[in-house]
């Protein structure tokens, strides 16, 4: 791993974050927004694991990444359930069309 420094991974994670952010702010499809959030969470995980590897701090970074993956699973389950609920009520998952709280 001589040629690849921690900066390489940080820049990769920043570019992945940028793609996720672009996805979140340009899409109106709720599923597309959720996919963008997954990209952002993955970019954070790359940072955790890269710094865990290059700082020699044992397993702390990897364990935090595992918690992030676990919370992402919970978030995906809840988020997709809400999206399906919205679809049943509104017949669309365009986030601009869903502006009523009353069902």
């Amino acid at each position: 791993m001589e040629g690849v420094s921690v900066n390489h991974f940080v820049v990769l994670s920043i570019l992945l974050f940028a793609a996720g952010l672009f996805c979140v702010i340009t899409r109106r499809n709720a599923l597309g927004i959720l996919m963008g959030i997954e990209l952002i969470l993955n970019s954070a995980n790359i940072n955790y694991v890269a710094f865990a590897r290059y700082s020699g701090s044992g397993y702390d970074g990897q364990i935090f990444a595992i918690f992030v993956i676990m919370l992402a699973a919970a978030e995906a389950a809840i988020g997709l359930a809400i999206v399906l609920g919205i679809y049943q009520t509104f017949e669309t998952i365009d986030v601009d069309a869903t502006d009523r709280l009353r069902g």
């Binding site: 791993m1 001589e2 040629g3 690849v4 420094s5 900066n7 991974f9 940080v10 820049v11 990769l12 920043i14 570019l15 992945l16 974050f17 940028a18 793609a19 996720g20 952010l21 672009f22 996805c23 702010i25 340009t26 899409r27 109106r28 499809n29 599923l31 597309g32 959720l34 996919m35 963008g36 997954e38 990209l39 995980n45 790359i46 694991v49 890269a50 590897r53 290059y54 700082s55 020699g56 397993y59 990897q62 364990i63 990444a65 918690f67 993956i69 676990m70 919370l71 992402a72 919970a74 978030e75 995906a76 389950a77 809840i78 997709l80 359930a81 399906l84 679809y87 365009d94 986030v95």
Partner: protein, 166 residues
């Protein structure tokens, strides 16, 4: 070019091209499949960083779980044949400008910073250490996490089921 650099650039290119596919594709179905490529690329990046357990967890949970859930949701909310061209919340040029500025500054700061790093050693199997840490130092977060998952799954069932009147 050393082999590790070549592997890194190959992986990074694959991951970022797939991520751009997620962000730019008009068809939400193609986005979902591009997301699979991105998740696989990130799993390979984890393996490259010596995190073997985490790479497998990424495969199992993200590719095997979250992505399948997402595909289910895409198929349940869209007619599959329909190519849905969604109009954008923010115009694309404005979004490119904003995201480009954010990414530019972040890269500038990240490359200017001097990280305190140690030369990484030879990668070792991590499963034993992670399992030990979960049952000693991290036992409380571990139990809370299992509770969070339980609550989330029950909540997902409650939210998504159809209410039966009367």
């Amino acid at each position: 070019m050393p082999i590790t650099e070549a592997v890194f650039y190959l992986l990074a290119t694959f991951t970022l091209v797939c991520a751009l596919g997620v962000a730019l594709s008009n068809n939400i179905m193609y986005s979902a499949f591009a997301l699979m490529g991105t998740l696989l690329g990130v799993a390979a990046t984890f393996l490259m960083l010596g995190a073997d357990f985490l790479g497998v967890v990424q495969l199992l949970v993200y590719v095997g779980g979250i992505l399948v859930l997402t595909l289910f949701a895409v198929m349940l909310t869209h007619r599959i044949a329909e190519v849905h061209v969604s109009n954008r919340a923010v115009g694309r040029p404005l979004a490119v400008l904003m995201v480009g500025a954010v990414a530019w500054w972040m890269i500038k700061v990240a490359t200017a910073a001097t990280w305190v790093v140690k030369a990484p050693g030879v990668p070792e199997p991590t499963t034993y250490g992670i399992g030990n840490a979960f049952l000693t130092d991290y036992v409380l977060p571990y139990e809370v996490a299992s509770l969070v998952l339980l609550v989330a799954l029950i909540g997902a069932v409650v939210v998504s089921r159809k209410e039966i009147q009367g």
